[in-house]
């Protein structure tokens, strides 16, 4: 019975996807605009009463929901598109946050200036991390990136110039642009009490990031990433400069993480190293895989659910993390390709390669089901 509902839902999603593929440009734009308007209308208290009855909905919309979505889109570039297993993504979030903190408090720069600096600094750190390590095989990359995440946090803890374990407080908010008021909100005034202006800012950045990532996906860069993800050796043989593109993926993913860090730091105004633990990297990775690695709407949905559900079920209190762990296992058993897998991913899975190229299964399934099959995609 479970398989039948699963197939029905998959079938449903497939037909939505087919309809979308056939839609004309004009129709697509209408949907995009509608979605953006819907996102802007989300932080209302009536919706909040249902979505998070026990804590403030607009605050939760900013963090964890919005920030997780932005981080998931960034990690999706690294893991979903280029197929690089990164277990230390939180490091780039931390670098962005500390950029905002240090440059904002010690040098007095304003938010928008720091945003540029933060993005550049994170991209650079992505390159610095990637250069020595991207030649390693996938799973080694995992442990090295995990180590890098811990190193960044430890260095922050041990360095008194950036506050040590006390962190940095008094981070400046984005500057107020106008006192313009609309529907009872001052959307461009960044104070302490109202989280909504930060949320709108975040929506703006998320939209820009989605456009950027989508463009990349459909470009030569994105196609190279797909080739690398499916079979790096074959790609190299076909003339794809794999190392360069892997490094680019790392840097781009890092810069998105850094941007998220800058925006978040300017809202919470005080950060400490303990804000950036390994579990956050693992959570974002779970969001990407759960949602459908490689598919932007998928990872957004995954991040939304992973951020929202624990808040919604506060009533469970103690059991939240327990439930989270169980849900992860169950979801992987029932739907390992994620909630909204990309079309390509579905094809890969059907082929038997495990759905993520060289991250796919290499041990044959139990005797009854296995047939020797090559995994180099020829479709």
């Amino acid at each position: 019975m479970l398989t039948r509902t699963r197939d029905q839902v998959s079938g449903g999603m497939d037909s939505v996807r087919d309809r979308w593929a056939r839609a004309s440009r004009w129709e697509r734009w209408v949907v995009y605009v509608a979605l953006i308007v819907a996102a802007l209308l989300l932080p209302s208290q009536t919706i909040g009463a249902f979505m998070t009855p026990q804590s403030d909905w607009p605050t939760v919309l900013f963090y964890p929901i919005g920030i997780y979505i932005l981080l998931a889109i960034g990690l999706n570039v690294v893991v979903g598109q280029a197929g690089l297993l990164d277990l230390g993504y939180v490091a780039f979030f931390a670098i962005g946050g500390y950029m905002m903190a240090v440059v904002g408090t010690k040098f007095g720069w304003s938010f928008w200036e720091v945003l540029v600096v933060g993005v550049v600094a994170s991209a650079l750190s992505g390159i610095v991390l990637g250069a020595p390590t991207l030649r390693l095989r996938g799973d080694y990359l995992a442990i090295v990136t995990l180590g890098f995440g811990e190193i960044v946090r430890k260095v922050a803890e041990n360095t008194d110039y950036i506050g040590g374990p006390r962190g940095i407080a008094g981070i400046p908010h984005p500057p107020n642009l106008t006192e313009f008021e609309m529907f009872g909100v001052r959307p461009l005034r960044y104070g302490v009490l109202d989280p909504r202006p930060y949320y709108y800012l975040l929506v703006f950045i998320i939209v820009l990031t989605i456009i950027f990532a989508k463009r990349l996906e459909n470009s030569r860069v994105g196609r190279s990433w797909s080739a690398i993800r499916e079979d790096e050796d074959a790609a190299e043989l076909m003339g794809v400069p794999t190392f360069k593109f892997k490094l680019a993926a790392f840097a781009i993913g890092a810069s998105i993480g850094g941007a998220a860090g800058v925006v978040w730091a300017s809202k919470v105004i005080s950060i400490i190293p303990a804000n950036f633990p390994f579990i956050l990297s693992a959570t974002i990775l779970a969001a990407v895989v759960l949602g459908g690695s490689g598919n932007i709407p998928g990872v957004m949905l995954g991040a939304f659910l992973i951020a929202w559900l624990p808040e919604r079920f506060r009533a469970l209190q103690d059991y939240r993390v327990l439930a989270f762990g169980a849900v992860l296992v169950l979801m992987m058993i029932l739907r390992p390709e994620g909630l909204l897998p990309s079309k390509r991913r579905k094809a890969e899975l059907a082929e038997g390669g495990g759905g993520s190229g060289h991250l796919g299964a290499e041990v044959a399934a139990p005797v009854a089901d296995s047939e020797p099959e090559t995994t180099v995609g020829t479709r």
Partner: protein, 395 residues
């Protein structure tokens, strides 16, 4: 298939919406009131802290203390009752901010006891400040909180600078140590208090060495290997009992006999348990709090201890009396007829009544007007009050 899809999906969506709204969800906004001339029948007072997470052991006692103060007041059948609303932040600043927004905007609290930890106080403070909600914390001891110029923030116990200096001076005076080894786990609170102890000791001309442990690791051998050859007269650990206990155990097992001291994070029977056997005997822990399980310190303390034991069936623990005093400050305000948050805040700057731990009175920056650092000595599985750090002697 195509036709089945929209119906099936809509049905599923509707079903899940129903299920989701059925579970969880709960009371918001219950009775109270807003401004207006008449005194409301009841006001809401919040309590924020880690109620269900790892450190709930030091947050539940002050919550109990606060609850007791509120219940005692409500039992007198006053015109305006108080409802204590708990907010479980699990000590996580991000959760605390979302809850603070909720408390301010939806629940309309008029005051907050807490937040319990300094980390969450840093982030919640600005929100309460702008929202003009007074807070009195019973346990957040970080020094910087009092230095931000917040007008609505108060705490009922002295901060880490006073605690660290008090313990440092105690070490120099009462243990007569010439050389002290200071260890901490590089977290905000731990390093803070270790630094203040170090400063105080330097001022007394004591020789010092330091090292750091990783609170997530179990093996402290590199630190033990540094302490042993240094042969200090005393060791001070800044941090929590979950690490202090095992650290003390590993030190004693390596043959280090120096006296062991720590700050309020270690004031818990868990220190002795973690150290094992009799390793914790003679360990001295300082605290800006008064924990007086037998009610010896004064009359009010005895009354408090008896009432607490009767109500909660367990002896008061760390910060319970402080939680009681913090809530008492609000109770006094409401007794005096103040029921809006601004009025209550104005009252708090003038309140001056005796509490269980000290005189309930706040300075201009929200710090308590008085407050001693007390030292406790461990023996077996429990600790006893030695006295104030200024004059207590080691037996």
């Amino acid at each position: 298939m195509r036709r089945a899809f929209p119906r099936g999906l809509v049905a599923a969506a509707a079903a899940s919406a129903l299920v989701l709204s059925a579970c969880g969800g709960d009371d918001n906004g219950g009775g109270d009131t807003g401004g207006g001339g008449d005194k409301p029948a009841s006001v809401k007072l919040g309590f924020m802290g880690d109620l269900t997470g790892e450190n709930s052991g030091i947050v539940i006692p002050p919550k109990n203390g606060a609850q007791m103060a509120i219940d005692e007041y409500n039992a007198t059948n006053p015109a305006t009752k108080i409802e204590l609303v708990p907010y479980d932040s699990q000590g996580v600043p991000e959760q605390a901010t979302a809850l603070a927004q909720q408390a301010l905007n939806q629940d309309k609290i008029v005051g907050l006891v807490g937040p319990a930890f300094s980390g969450e106080s840093q982030q919640v403070g600005p929100i309460l400040e702008e929202g003009k909600i007074p807070s009195v914390s019973a346990s957040a001891t970080n020094v910087t909180l009092g230095e931000k110029g917040w007008k609505y923030w108060h705490r009922i116990l002295p901060g880490d600078r006073i605690q660290g200096t008090g313990i440092g001076e105690f070490i120099a005076r009462a243990t007569k140590a010439k050389k002290v080894f200071v260890i901490h786990d590089n977290q905000d609170y731990s390093k803070g208090i270790a630094d203040f102890v170090t400063e105080a000791l330097k001022g007394k001309g004591v020789a010092l060495e330091t090292d750091v442990i990783d609170p997530k690791a179990s093996d402290y051998s590199s630190t033990v290997n540094k302490v042993k050859p240094a042969a200090p007269d005393a060791i001070f650990y800044g941090g929590y009992y979950a690490q202090a206990g095992p650290l003390l155990k590993q030190l004693r097992e390596a043959g280090v006999t120096a006296r062991f001291l720590s700050g309020d994070g270690s004031l818990d029977a868990g220190l002795a348990k973690g150290a094992g056997g009799t390793n914790a005997d003679g360990a001295i822990v300082g605290c800006p709090c008064l924990v007086d399980p037998t009610g010896e310190a004064n009359e009010k303390s005895k009354k408090f201890v008896d009432a607490y034991k009767a109500k909660f069936k367990t002896a008061p623990a760390i910060y319970s009396a402080e939680g009681y005093d913090a809530a008492t400050a609000f109770v006094e305000a409401i007794k005096a007829g103040k029921t809006t948050s601004e009025d209550i805040n104005a009252f708090l700057s003038t309140v001056d009544v005796p509490g269980v731990t000290k005189q309930i009175k706040f300075g201009a920056n929200g710090e308590p007007a008085g407050g001693d650092v007390y030292v406790y000595e461990f023996k077996g599985q429990s600790y006893t009050l030695l006295g104030s750090s200024k004059d207590a002697e080691i037996s």
